[in-house]
Amino acid sequence: MSAPQRFLANDRNLIRTATLTPSAVQAVANAVIETPLARAGSAQLKLTGSYSGIEDATYDFQIEDLASGTKLISQPVYTGVGSETLANVASTTAAQDFTLECHSAGQPAVAAAVEIEGVSIVARAGGVAGNGIHVNVDVSGLVFTASNFSLIEAVTKGAGADASPLIGPQYDWDTAAMGADGLIPSTAHRFAFEGDESNVYVGYKKFVDNAWQYFTVPGLLNDYAAGTRVLFVSGSYTVSIIDDGGSPPVTDTLTGVVTVYDFLNAVKTTSTLCDVDGVIANDRSPTGQAAREFALRTEARALLSTGEGSKAATGFIDITVEPDANTELVTAECIAIDFKLDPQAFVGHEAWTLKGSVSGVLGTIYTDEPFAGATFGLTIPQKLPPTTGNSAGRFSLSGVQYASRDAGGSEVEICFAGKLGPNAVDQTLTLVYTARPPEGCNCESMPVPQLNTRCLGGAGSDTAMGYSAGAQTRIDDLYDWVSSLAGKVTRYVAGKGIPPYPATTFPPDSETASATVSGDGFSSTKTFSSSTLTGGTDLLTVADIVDTGYADAALPAGFTALVDQFDSTLQLIDALGTGAPQTAGFTAWDDALTAIQGDLNDSELSTLGHRLASVASLKYQLMLRRSLAAAGISPLGKSSASTQTSGDGCWQDYGDAFYWKVTGTDGEYAPAFTNHAYWSSRKNDAGVYFSTKEFAFILNVKCPQNLVVGDTVTLTIGNAAALGTYQVGDILKLPLIAAADQFLAGGIDANAIQKWYVTGSVDGAFAVYTFDPGSPSTYFNGGLTLKLVMGGIDPAAGDTFLFSVIGARYKWRKNGGAYSAAAEIPSGATAFDSGLSFTFIPGAEPSFVAGDTWTFRALQKWAVSNLAKPDRKRWFPGVATSNVYAEFASVQTLDAVGIALHTIPEGASITLTGGNVLAVQDWSETIVWQAGAIVQFLSQLRTALWVQLNLATADASSIGWLWVGQAATTALSADVTLKRNYSVVRGQAGGLYQGGAFLGKSVSATVSWQEGSLTEADAAMLSGSLDYVKSNNDEPILFVPQFTRPADVLLAQIVEDEIPLPDVFDYNPNVDRPRALSASLTLQGVWT
């Protein structure tokens, strides 16, 4: 007999060591976990599918080598700024690397803009149309009023700025003081400096360190000389924003603009064309927008004029700039300050060479004579030396030497009065009374060709005439017209042959009834006959035509004389040289020519001859005299070809039969006439007299008839050296800025089309991928297929995708076994084992590298091996009818079966079959179901090589622990106490209802062998089981308190980790005396 208690611990479980084969195991999804491994390639491998293996397994995949049979596309590698991706990449090309590079990323519309005063003015409409918008500033509304202030001392560029204030009362130009609020009062003066009206400042002052400091906004933009007048500025700008490209053109007119703020605010609030991209602030602090003068200038303008050289050279005055002025630097260099270098030069009338860096040489101008050019005008200010008001120097009659006189002749008293001019130099003048040469011997009327200066080392031209460009044009115009007129009045007389002039163009067909004539007077070749040549209305029919028998110019003598007078008058004006007088003369001369051309127009040829014959000569002669007068030449002085000429009208030939020949240290002057005022004059290169501004005098002789040829008067000039102002080499400068509206720029039209280069490392260039994000298209070319997918960030030129067309071979193994045969990596998922499939995902190059390995753990949480341990891992077949077959190493004896941690439903059929020979069932036991642990003692002691647990109609069944074997027991019974346990979580705060959360229940027991009721064999059995369960993580055991009541079975863990085994004899007896042991176990039921 043995005790009624039974112990079913796992150390006695035959299932633990048996080979288990289930009929089914529930496949599990998401049960494959990759073991991280280092690889050289970037490809990935994914296992998918529900794992249906009966146990956990490991899978290894390895790249065998590279191959090209199957075309795989590596993961495109992207570099760039956009967020686009590449999709649907496929290829039938050879294995190679591909590059997809963005050549043109399209272009979003960009609005044109321009930076004005630090703020962007942006076209409201995007695109290139905005580039045509321009800003024009009209400054005509500004009023510059001379103030009572000027610079006491020179100031330099940058002065007046916040870091470099001007200090001293000399800068207080009714300057407003800055308020305590740090703002510039609105009453602060706007001012500019005379000569630099392009820059307008606002002035204010602050009291700092016991002194007033004066500031300008902005800081001074130029250097200004002492004495420069301060101009107060009022008025405003009118700004036009113009779009000429629209239809109709649009102009926004912004009026009343004074400050930057005014402009920006007007643009923001009223402009239909532009907007302001930036902050607009009505801020009158020194750096605020409302304190700064609107500085944009678009009109043609002159900047501050300056000078170099002497102190007098400070710049031009009276500057005018035409709208079409060039951007250029105008310079005037002083070339003569007295008559020695230019007969017209003297102090206060210096000669200057005027040049423009674009306009070129503009000729010679003189101080205090306004220059009016095509695009600008200016005047060189007259600077006279300081004087006391009296003439400088001494001019006196130092002696008279009378020539010998005939008997009875008397010497005559000669009175002298003289005055020195600014060009006077110390010298002795000798005046010799001389008889005028006979008229026929006067050489003044003889023609003088222009002496070419080329052979004198100059740059003169080779033309014999030597006209200036202006005169040359006019003389050409004159004779072209005259020649044309002559052609118009040419008459052909039939039967007289063809005129030999010009011989090269007229055929020698002289005696024919008809002839072909070409040349002047005919617009084209024309054939005449006798009939057409008589009575033609377009031929001259006046009676006084000289019939030479040839074509002839019948120009009346009065007309040709008039033409000669036009010619000679032009020569006189040209001789003046470049300057305002010459320009005025030319203009009047042009008027005269226009008048005569109008009167003698050839619109009515029938009357032309008559008009030629009766030309109003006096009218045109007067007009020519008017042109001389305009040029400052006395018309009377020019009326006779035999009379000497004066270019400036100072000197005059009074026609006397005698005159005084005046000779100075440097040569001869114009002759002087008795009893007539005389101004020192000399001839210029053209033979025209001009005043030398040296001296003037009069010789008064009451009885001039008593003068004798040879009488000599000596005049002396002393101490005449005058202080000069300008000096030769002085240079005056005037920067001119061309008118230029401020155009907006940078506007670009939107263009969404992208261009991508496609290049293969083997096949080279592929067709360009033209991609429209609005209508995405797939690229097909040369076996390559791909498609761009735009992201949130647009691509940019240079964005690049790299990918490869590749192939490789792989192999795999399970649980560390032998590898499969190598095979080409397929594309897509490929099933390979236990419901699992693998998919290779190429990565960036290098994607596949031989030797790269992937390892996976396939987890089978419902594995049949779970039956071998009493834990919460279960075997779950997943089907209603199932079995698990257990084969032992040898035939085993068994008397009990236990099932724990199961979910077998009530009503399920449970049987255990077994046999001593494989595949031969010897016995079958029906197991009674109960909730919780099941223990059934077999109807008899069974032997078996194999057993099989069969479940039927057991849907959703799972079993955590299956125990088969011989249950342990002791020789003597133990004292057993059962108790029921509940696990309830209770809140600490309690509450009105002291309930809790139920977590589980169990049945526990205490088992004790007292008074030495435990034999040594029992203790050995018990110790073996204790050792096992404790060393296996405190495994629970099945305990049946009374074997005839198997339903009382409980699954419990042995609570104690220290189990006393006392011996009644305290382990003292000899070995031949049995021990009488005691023990006590506390079995804590497993929560269910």
Binding site: Q26, N30, V32, R872, T903, D1034
Partner: protein
């Protein structure tokens, strides 16, 4: 409650309560013994606790009586974890911040 651990982003490990029948959750491990209180983001109200706060977090425990849980999940620090309530709604999502091993595995999941 259901706990999902994304040790493999494509194959989350799923844990349910032991009372859930395998047939009801064949892909899940019935080891989820407790889902602790959800601590929402808490800011201290004391001076001493100034400048400190606590992210929302929740502690879950897995039965590890046979070391089965620790064997399965290893050290899933910084692994994304999701807790779904019994209605199938996402209750909390975060990452595993701390792990305590024992007869249960306690995972602190922080937002």
């Amino acid at each position: 409650m259901e706990l999902r651990l994304y040790i493999d982003p494509d194959a989350p490990l799923v844990f349910v309560a032991p009372t859930v029948l395998p047939a009801d959750a064949p892909d899940a491990y019935p080891w989820l013994t407790d889902v602790g209180d959800l601590v929402l983001q808490a800011r201290t109200g004391t001076v001493r606790g100034a400048f400190s706060d606590q992210s929302a977090n929740v502690t879950v425990t897995l039965d590890n009586s046979g070391r089965q849980a620790s064997t399965l999940i290893g050290q899933p620090l910084r692994v994304r974890a999701e807790i779904e309530d019994d209605d199938g709604h996402l209750y909390f999502a975060g990452m595993v911040q701390t792990i305590d091993y024992g007869t249960v595995v306690a995972l602190d999941i922080g937002a």
